[in-house]
């Protein structure tokens, strides 16, 4: 029974979309039509048109250029924070479930403590202590975001641990690490893919909230979230300030979600294609 390739149709389109956005972000200094921070108040709220394809904001800055530069911040924070919190959550959850005992207690009680403080306040408090910077935004999102996934993975691992095939692997002499990595974790991946895909979107939005409050990137540096937030006040007169960054965030979320769903199905041999 041949399996279809992973990269085809929708997944190929999503991958291409993400790759294109990442490439645009990397090449922003060369492809951006204007300096993203160049103020031109005479043309504030300029409509989209030739020379300013996505319009201008309240200070007359070129939205396309700001989006391209902002992609560096938003994609960077979104992907690295989602990856970090997913890895951390999966690892800690698997350890808690598989090893058990005091390690389980330590990890899960830490998760409880983190979870019982409302996320935004916790992140704000940490950001105030650490100081505003992009690296800190990623660190704080990772440090507070792993708990939910750890809980899910731990529960999966606990139920898998008692399954016959795990006992069979142990009966054939596999080391505990091998049993965990080859037999238990691959069977507990479903919540991991979901966490990764939702994590990207969540991190991009969290970065924008922090930037809005002045704790993320500092003005005038652009991020998709900060463009969106500043455009909210003038939504009635300048729709392009919210629509285009919104579309960019939507495209990334959509692509990552579809890719995650495809990966989940692809790596589950029982799923019919």
């Amino acid at each position: 029974m041949g399996r279809p390739r992973f990269w085809q149709g929708a997944t190929l389109a999503c991958g291409a979309c993400l790759a294109l956005l990442a490439l645009a972000a990397l090449l922003a200094p060369w492809v951006a039509p204007a300096n993203p921070d160049a103020i031109d108040v005479l043309h504030s709220f300029g409509r989209p048109g030739p020379g300013q394809w996505l319009g201008r904001d309240e200070l007359g800055r070129d939205v396309l250029s700001r989006l391209l530069y902002g992609a560096r911040v938003s994609l960077g924070v979104g992907l690295s924070a989602a990856l970090g919190m997913t890895l951390l959550g999966a690892l800690l959850g698997a350890l808690a479930g598989y090893v058990g005992g005091w390690l389980d207690g330590l990890i899960m009680r830490s998760a409880d403590v983190l979870m019982c403080i409302p996320g935004v306040y916790l992140i704000l408090a940490l950001m105030v202590v650490l100081g505003p910077s992009l690296v800190n935004v990623v660190l704080v999102i990772v440090a507070t975001g792993w708990t939910g996934l750890a809980r899910l993975v731990r529960a999966e691992v606990l139920s898998l641990k008692g399954r016959d095939f795990v006992l069979a692997a142990r009966a054939s002499g596999a080391t505990p690490a091998r049993v965990l990595l080859r037999h238990v974790l691959p069977n507990a991946m479903a919540p991991v893919y979901v966490s990764l895909t939702f994590g990207v979107a969540g991190a991009i939005l969290m970065e924008s909230s922090l930037s809005f409050l002045g704790l993320g990137v500092q003005p005038p540096t652009a991020s998709w979230g900060s463009i969106l937030n500043s455009g909210r006040e003038s939504m009635a007169q300048a729709w392009w300030l919210t629509v285009f960054p919104g579309l960019a965030i939507f495209a990334v979320m959509m692509a990552v979600n579809l890719l995650g769903e495809a990966a989940r199905r692809h790596f589950n041999p029982r799923e019919p294609w």
């Binding site: 692997a169 054939s172 596999a174 691959p186 069977n187 041999p269």
Partner: protein, 267 residues
């Protein structure tokens, strides 16, 4: 010296009364021994104690276990682990859940080969194909690359046997190996076990609640009841003149089934 020597083995969950109580038996190289008993009589826990795979909370509280003269209970965990899948193999009750659903069947067999015989990937793949062929499964590359859900119950039980036998064990413990299978497949798997034992010469500890299964594979059997050995002797003797209450109960149940079958046969 016996291959496996179990003397006064007791297993308990915490401070609760033992669930395996002073069980003793020995098994010579290449021989077969049956372990007969109702559900919950401690058969499986005895097997798991021998393998060193007791579930969390259960522990050996007394007795001795020795394999080829070596004290299993004094062995360090690493050496004990290498015995599993090497000199000792285990086949389970449930062929439907004993294979990892996300791993190709061939990979699950070659995993143990690579671990115990230090084979590289290609040699392990060949070894896995051989192991599949030995248990009567098509050894072609297609079969080994399939996933467990593409196997029928009987095929899975064969694959599990291939997995347990890949390391050429000197002792194979088969815990209710045919209970979950329908009776035609059951007969095939029993015949296969007998043939493999003849070919490979492993000692077989066969665990079942079913007299017919024990009778088909082992000349000698232990009857277990509430964790203790109620009776032991040759299977023919057990069948004709069971001495203990537990053995008589099993025989009666067996006879009742046979009787019901006979009645249905005569309209």
């Amino acid at each position: 010296m016996s291959l496996l020597e179990v003397a006064g083995l007791s297993v308990a969950f915490g401070a609760a009364p033992p669930v395996v109580d002073q069980v003793s038996f020995s098994l010579e190289a290449g021989q077969s021994l049956g372990l007969l008993g109702a559900s919950g009589s401690g058969k499986s826990l005895t097997a798991l104690a021998v393998m060193g795979l007791l579930p969390a909370g259960a522990a050996v509280t007394g007795g001795r276990l020795s394999f080829e003269g070596e004290d299993l209970l004094a062995m360090d965990p690493g050496a004990r682990r290498l015995l599993r899948g090497g000199d000792m193999g285990l086949v389970f009750q449930e062929p439907f859940t004993a294979l990892n659903p996300l791993m190709r069947v061939g990979d699950q067999i070659s995993e143990s080969l690579r671990l115990h015989q230090g084979l590289d990937a290609a040699a392990a793949r060949r070894g896995a194909a051989e192991a599949l062929e030995r248990v009567g499964l098509d050894p072609g590359p297609e079969r080994a690359r399939q996933y467990p859900h593409q196997f029928s119950g009987g095929m899975r039980q064969r694959a599990l046997l291939a997995m347990a036998l890949a390391g050429r064990p000197r002792l194979l413990i088969a815990d209710e190996p045919t209970t979950a299978l329908d009776s035609t497949v059951q007969a095939q798997v029993l015949a296969l076990l007998r043939r493999l034992q003849g070919e490979l010469g492993f000692a077989l500890l066969i665990i079942s609640h079913d007299l017919a299964v024990i009778h088909a594979l082992a000349p000698r059997a232990l009857v277990m009841d509430h964790g203790a050995v109620a009776e032991q002797g040759d299977v023919a003797g057990l069948l004709n003149s069971p001495a203990s209450a537990a053995a008589r109960r099993l025989m009666r149940a067996y006879a009742a089934l046979e009787g019901a079958a006979a009645e249905r046969g005569n309209p």
